[in-house]
Subunit: 415 residues, 2 copies
C-alpha cells in the first residue's frame, strides 16, 4: 500500500494566523484514494527545513507532495531543494517559458524576468499546466519514489490536484493490491476510557484493523482503519462495525460525516414532530446547533434563552416559589421549564436545560457541571440529572449535545 | 532570539478531517511572545515519525512544543519517545497519581487502571497541572533545550498553555536581545480590500514592520509584526498602532485576544445596563456568543429564539398583521421584535435579528443574506438593514457579530 508525506511551505503558515488548508485538502484526497498519509511538515522558506522535510518523506514513504514555494520570488526554493536531495539538475524548458510569457501577454501585463525561473525543471520531471496562475506544477517519478510539487494558492493548487495529480496517482494505486478503508462510529455518553473498556474485546482482537478513539466536542469517535485487498477490507470493516455497534448500542449517534443535529433533525422530520427549547446555562447553544441545519424551521419552533430567573418566570411561567424553594438549577425548575415552553409553543416536545456552566456559581452541593434537563411530551415531563467535567465551554457543549442526544433517544424509543 | 519547533500528534490529523488547531494556537502565542516558529510536524501515533519530529526540533531549535499523545490509551507514545531521544527514563510520580485518582473521585467515577500511566514522567521534568482533564502536561529543560508536552484536547491544552507554559517561556524570552513583537488590531464592518485601501499610507511606509490583513469570522485582523531590540520594537509598534487606529476609528473592535462579546460585555457592565435578544435567523447564536462569557448573567437577561412566526407572536407579541403584511424579514417585524423583547424582559436594551440565512428562502426582492436588526431603548426603536454574502454559516456568524457590534457602537455613542 502506498504511503505519502505532505510538505506545506510558506512563512505565513508559521505565524499562527493562516491555517494550513492545503495539507488538509491533500490528506483528505489521498485518504479517499486509499493512500496512507504518514506525516506532514510545515516549513518556512528555509532551505534547511525544506531539505529535512523532503528527506523524511523520501526515506519513509513512496510519495511526497509539497505545496507552495514555486513562485518567482527569491524565497521560493522548493525545486532547488528537490534537485539537491535527488542529485539532479534544473534545466530550462523553453515551452514552459512560452506558457508563462503568454499568461502575461493575455492579461496585457509586463512579465518580470524573475518569472522565467518558474520554467526551470529537474530533467526527468513532467510540468503540470496551471491555467489559473504562472507557476506550473511538477510530477516526478525517480527510483520508485514520486515527488509532486504544487503551487501554494488553494485556488490554483486544488484544480491542479484534481486535473493532473489525482489521475496519475489513481493509476499508481490501481497497481497496488492493498487499499485502506476507514469508518468512524460516533458515540455520546460514556467517556474515552469507558468506551475503551466497553470495547476491550474488540480492541484485543481487531481482525488486523487499527482502531483509535478520539474525544471530540463531547463525542467519542471510534475510527476503524483497515489495510487489505478491497474485498477483504470491506468484509472485515462491516464485521467490526457490527461488533462495535453491538457493544455501544444506542450510544451510537452517527457515522463518518454525520452530525448529531442532522441525525436529530432527520428523526424529527420523519416523525412529523415539532420541538421547542428552554435553555438556561447553554444560553442558546442547543438552538444554535439545531438551526445550523437548513430547513430546521420544519421541526424547530424556537425557544427561550431564560438566562435570568426573571426570564424563566416571564417566558416560561416557572413559579417564583419553585425558584426560591429549589433554586434555578433543580429538577423542579427543569420540569417547569420543559412544560412551560411546550405549552407556550404548542408543540409536541419541550426540552429544557438548566445547570452550572462555571467557572463561578458552583457549591459543594451543586458543583460546576451539574445540569438538569427536562423533556415534556403530551403524556408527561421527565427530568434527568447529569454531571459534566471541564471548563465553561466544554460543559456548555457537552450539555447542549447531551440534550440533543436525549431527544434522539426519545425519538428512537430509548429516551 | 529563541527558535521553536511544534509537533502535533494524532492519527486523526492525517486523514484530512480534523484541522490541526493546536499548532495554530501555539504558533500564534509563540509569535506574540517573540519566539520564532521554524517549522511544524504533524505525525500519527507512530514511533518512528514522533522520534524524527523531536530530533528535527531538538537539532535545529531551542524549544520543542508537542500536543497530544498524553492520554491513557495504548497509542499514546510521546513521553516514551522523549525519554529515548534525551536518554532518560520514565518514573512514577506518586503525587500525580493522587491528582488523577482525586479527579475521578470528585466526579464519582471509577478510574480505569490505564489512567495511572499518565503519572509517569522523565526524571527532570516538571509536571504541569491539568484542572480540566486527567493528563498532566510536562515542562523539561535539559542541555539548553526546552521540551513542553501538552494534552491534545484544545479545551485542556489552551488553559494549560496560558497558565503554565506562557509564564515560563516569557522568562526565557526576557533573557534575549532581539525580540519579535506582534499586535493584532481587529476591525468589523469594512471588507478586506476596503481595509487595505484605507490603510494604504501605512502599508506603504510600515516602518520596518510586516503588516498583514486576515479575514476571520467576519472580522478583519490587521497584524503588525516587528523584529528589533525590545525598546525599539515596542516604540515602533505603538506608533504603527496609533496610525492604524487613527484611520480605522470606531471600526476597531479589539486587540490581540479580545473578542467582540468580551468588549460588549465590558461596556455593558461599566454602563450598568442589561440587554435581551430576540433572534430569528441566527437561532440563538448571538445569545450563545454573549453567554460564552462567565458572569454574563450580570448584563444579559436572556432572550427569545423566535424561529417560527408563531414564536414571534407568542414570545414577543409581534402582531399577526405585521407578519402577514410585511413578512417575517422586514423592518416592521424587526422593530416589533426589539420592542417586544425589551418590554417583556423589562431591561434597558432589546436587540432583534430577523433575516434569511439560506440556502433556501430567498427571493429576488428579499435575497439570501438580507437581514434586519432592531435596537430598542427607553426612547426609541431603531432599525437597520444589512446584506451579507456567503453560505448559511457565514451569514449567521456575520449577522450575530454585526448585531453585537451595533450594540457596542450604541454603548460608545456611535450606534
Amino acid at each position: 500500500m502506498l504511503k505519502a508525506y505532505i510538505v506545506s511551505t510558506g512563512t505565513e503558515l508559521l505565524l499562527g494566523q493562516t491555517p494550513d488548508t492545503n495539507s488538509l485538502f491533500i490528506s483528505r484526497a489521498l485518504t479517499q484514494m486509499g493512500i496512507k498519509v504518514m506525516g506532514k511538515a510545515v516549513v518556512g522558506d528555509n532551505h534547511e527545513y525544506i531539505r529535512r522535510a523532503f528527506s523524511t518523506g523520501l526515506e519513509t514513504t513512496d510519495l511526497v507532495i509539497c505545496s507552495g514555494g514555486l513562485g518567482p520570488t527569491r524565497d521560493d526554493l522548493t525545486k532547488q531543494v528537490v534537485c539537491e536531495v535527488l542529485g539532479c539538475k534544473l534545466e530550462r524548458r523553453p515551452e514552459e517559458e512560452e506558457c508563462i510569457k503568454e499568461f502575461f501577454a493575455r492579461r496585457h501585463r509586463r512579465m518580470p524576468d524573475s518569472n522565467l525561473r518558474q520554467a526551470l525543471f529537474p530533467s526527468d520531471a513532467e510540468a503540470l499546466p496551471n491555467p489559473l496562475g504562472t507557476a506550473p506544477g511538477m510530477y516526478l517519478e525517480k527510483d520508485g519514489k514520486t515527488i509532486v510539487l504544487l503551487p501554494g494558492p488553494p485556488r490554483e493548487m486544488e484544480p491542479m490536484f484534481r486535473a493532473e495529480v489525482a489521475p496519475r496517482l489513481r493509476r499508481r494505486v490501481g497497481q497496488q493490491k492493498q487499499v485502506v478503508l476507514s469508518r468512524v462510529i460516533k458515540v455520546l455518553g460514556p467517556g474515552e476510557s469507558q468506551v475503551e473498556e466497553m470495547l476491550q474485546e474488540v480492541l484485543e482482537d481487531p481482525q488486523g484493523a487499527a482502531i483509535a478513539l478520539l474525544a471530540q466536542d463531547g463525542e467519542i469517535h471510534i475510527r476503524i482503519t483497515l489495510e487489505d485487498s478491497l474485498e477483504r477490507a470491506t468484509r472485515t470493516l462491516q464485521e467490526l462495525e457490527d461488533r462495535i455497534i453491538g457493544v455501544m448500542g444506542w450510544h451510537v449517534v452517527g457515522f463518518d460525516q454525520d452530525t448529531l443535529p442532522e441525525v436529530v433533525g432527520k428523526l424529527l422530520r420523519e416523525a412529523g414532530l415539532q420541538v421547542a427549547f428552554a435553555e438556561s446555562c447553554t444560553g442558546g447553544l442547543a438552538a444554535k446547533l439545531i438551526t445550523d441545519l437548513p430547513g430546521s424551521s420544519e421541526f424547530f419552533w424556537g425557544g427561550a434563552v431564560s438566562y435570568a430567573n426573571e426570564a424563566k418566570m416571564e417566558l416560561l411561567g416557572v413559579s417564583e416559589s419553585t425558584l426560591s424553594e429549589y433554586g434555578a438549577v433543580s429538577p423542579e425548575t427543569a420540569k417547569e421549564m420543559a412544560r412551560g415552553i411546550r405549552e407556550r409553543a404548542g408543540v409536541d416536545i419541550g426540552i429544557s436545560i438548566t445547570g452550572i456552566a462555571g467557572p463561578g456559581g458552583g457549591s459543594s452541593e451543586k458543583p460546576v457541571g451539574l445540569v438538569y434537563m427536562g423533556l415534556a411530551d403530551n403524556r408527561e415531563v421527565k427530568v434527568k440529572e447529569q454531571r459534566f467535567i471541564g471548563g465553561r465551554e466544554a460543559v456548555r457543549i457537552l450539555t447542549a449535545k447531551s440534550a440533543l442526544d436525549w431527544l434522539r433517544r426519545y425519538l428512537i424509543g430509548r429516551g
